[in-house]
Amino acid sequence: MPKDDRERKWVTFNHFILHFRPVRVPAKTLSYTHTFGLGGMSLVLVLLLVGTGVLLMFAYEPAPGDAYDSVLRLQENVTFGKFVRGVHHWSANLLIVVMVLHLFRVVFTGAFHPPRQFNWVIGLGLLACVLASNFTGYLLPWDQLSYWAITISTGMLGYVPWGGGWLQAAVRGGNEIGRATLITFYTLHTTVVPVLIFVLMGFHFWRVRRARGVVVPRAPGEAVDERPEKVLGLPFLFMKEFVVALILVASVFLFSALVAAPLGEAANAGMSPNPAKAPWYFMGFQELLLHFHPVFAVVLLPLAGAVGLAMIAYLGYGEDPSGIWFVSRRGRALARAAAGVALVLTPILVMADEWLLDLAGMAPGLPPILRDGVVPVGALGLAFWAGYRWVRTRKSATRAEAVQTAFVFFAVAFLVLTAIGVWFRGPGMALGWAG
């Protein structure tokens, strides 16, 4: 152990791990239930994806005639081919879940208040990159599932006003999904997006260090501890991180060894499957498409969601509840209530729209953009606004509590829509158990 400051500086300078882990961390932040290690898990999954991804690049051939067969060959003839593909597939799906949970943790512990505001935005950028990576990777096996999921997902782009046709042709590399689409998606997936992810990750980690680490936990009402008691990062922090990483890698490997990554029949441009669904993480948007006009479902609502998410860090709260789970006791109660309301209300509205409402019959003269767009979105928006004002005034919620409540409401509603899209839409996208 170093005896004096000079020796301490020398150890830090020379030691490999202390180059990227902090020398000292607040003891209170070490508890697993403070962050659940979700950020670190995201990093581990990204590294697994890069490692398996590079291996896959030696076997995969990015052309429509060859892609599917190269995946078959990889699974049958390459030693551990099935396993490596499995690790890649399950890590990719798990990464979305872990990142979203990490986003929830950051929101609920208030880890986006100053000085962490811009890091929140960087994190959103990382989420966008990971979704892009999943989306471009989805096409590569070129089976029926991939081909049609990407057909309809890029079909949604055609509804973007003023530039939709151009945007769709740009993403597809032409008018149809074909050679150009595949090589475009492949290049984005293996080069452009990974480079972006690495740059953003570096920036993201540096910002965490600059903010002196993760938020320090405290109970509701407790004052901020300006000089929290610190312990050495090596061994205490690093060992915990290392164990979480090992358990995660072991779990992913075990799962991949037992459950194979799916591979359907080879893509057939002449036959669309029934139903044709987008990848599961976009099913919330496909479900929205079934209820609202495409311009709203594909452009305006997602855009509003993205802007809303970014704005969470910049709203000006007048207080700093960072480190307190759910801001306060009232915040916890409101969050529970909002989750319950969204959980019940969303399926009810979906079923009402499916079986009870017939807007086309009630207002036949109204153009679709109003009937399926402006009117229902406006009505729901008004109802939400009224609810927000009620929470603020009748429940005396602070802005931090109210914004958190709104976040919980929308997050749960979107999760329910995703679940409905994945499990409750069958042939013809009819509502019912899809299995």
């Binding site: 049609w148 740009a170 590399g173 002449g270 669309s272 499957p273 498409l289 079934l290 013809g428």
Partner: protein, 174 residues
């Protein structure tokens, strides 16, 4: 008084306005040129990334469907290699409709029993003329140009024709 001395006196009197004028100009010139350079790089990149023009030439695009009398009125014949259906209407006129659903791009099969196109993805339905019978499709199926030469029906799949609804001018009559 020399020119230099006069300039120095001016500068002493009004240091901000006269002295950095050349420096300010050069700065602006550099930034301007840098902006032009960035614009050029973006222009080249976007041009490079635009969808390529297809190498295959026009001959492959025209599909010879067959003689006029091979198609009975009120029937639909699928041409998978051309990605279209040749519909002969009751009055004998021809329409070549695209098989791509106008909703999100799924391939629409012709269901003979129901005498309509029904999309498997979200249940959009179209009649024999490609017009929308059931949403969520927003417009009628796209068309390809039909030519009849010497009683032989030919379809040009090079250019697809978007339309919002059916009109009798779209039909080619023998």
């Amino acid at each position: 008084m020399g020119r230099k001395q006069r300039k120095q006196e001016e500068e002493a009197a009004d240091p901000v306005e006269t002295s950095p004028s050349r420096r300010a100009f050069l700065w602006k010139a550099w930034i301007g040129l840098a902006a032009v350079a960035v614009a050029e790089v973006v222009w080249v990149a976007l041009g490079f990334l635009r969808p390529r023009r297809p190498l295959e030439e026009e001959e492959a695009a025209v599909v010879t469907a067959g003689p006029v009398d091979a198609f009975s009125p009120d029937s639909v014949t699928a041409f998978p290699q051309g990605k279209f259906y040749l519909a002969r209407l009751e009055d004998g006129g021809f329409l070549a409709v695209s098989r791509e659903c106008t909703h999100l791009g799924c391939t629409v099969p012709w269901i003979e029993e129901d005498h309509r196109f029904v999309c498997p993805c979200h249940s959009s339905a179209f009649d024999i003329r490609g017009e929308v019978i059931n949403p969520p499709a927003p417009r009628a199926l796209d068309l390809f140009e039909v030519r009849i030469e010497n009683r032989i029906v030919k379809v040009n799949t090079a250019n697809v024709e978007r339309r919002s609804a059916f009109s009798s001018g779209q039909v080619t009559r023998p």
